[in-house]
Subunit: 134 residues, 2 copies
């Protein structure tokens, strides 16, 4: 069911509102491509996100339906963050950012090889990433 | 030539840094899909952007090479903002945001028909938009 009650009927404006800011997309990147799923993993990610920024972005992403909390097996304090179908549907958006970034800026070998994989087998890679997150 | 001297070698992180924030992408949307090219047109756009926000985003987009200023024919005070090739290469990013936004949120008829066009003839629409901005 499509959600309503927003300021704008433009899908781009709405998408950007739902995503929040750069940090939300960086968290989604870490989940989708790097398999991160705990608060401490996000915190260790190399851009050095501030703890309060990380905490509020995780809450926003959860409230907007892009990620969900799961129990961490054998640990009642820790939680796992998993992508929802709605969050996984952002893979193509991240793909296009990878291709654009790779075209215009210096990147590392991992990013170059990711861009190459997107160019050569986009659909296969989307399926691979989706399966990994089921 | 690829630009260097950035904090991260991740193309997504770099792309997001270059784009700035939601407003920068809204300005690019207005240019790409709605043909806007003057300060006053952006100001009138329906999300009601604040004048200082608009002015700084235009400066950032210009400094980052996504848009460029051109003389307004017959008017020495007014300037036109045009997309650079680097800015036009963001069309696929905006397409994916349209498709994602259209899938999950209520949109208007224009947005639905844009999403439909992207799904049925993505490459043709990219070419059409590129030609329009030459």
């Amino acid at each position: 069911m499509k959600k309503t009650n927003r300021r704008s009927l433009c899908p781009i404006s709405t998408a950007l509102e739902m995503l929040g800011d750069k940090w939300a997309l960086i968290i989604l990147r870490d989940m989708i491509f790097r398999g991160m799923e705990t608060y401490s993993e996000f915190l260790k990610a190399h851009e050095k996100i501030a703890t309060n920024t990380l905490a509020t972005r995780l809450i926003n992403l959860e409230q907007n339906g892009l990620i969900e909390k799961k129990d961490y097996p054998g640990n009642k304090v820790k939680v796992l963050y998993k992508l929802t179908p709605m969050g996984l549907d952002l893979i193509p958006v991240l793909f296009e950012l990878v291709l654009w970034g790779d075209k215009y800026f210096e990147t590392d070998k991992d990013a170059e090889s990711l861009a190459e994989n997107i160019r050569s087998d986009r659909d296969g890679l989307i399926k691979y990433l989706r399966d990994k997150h089921q």
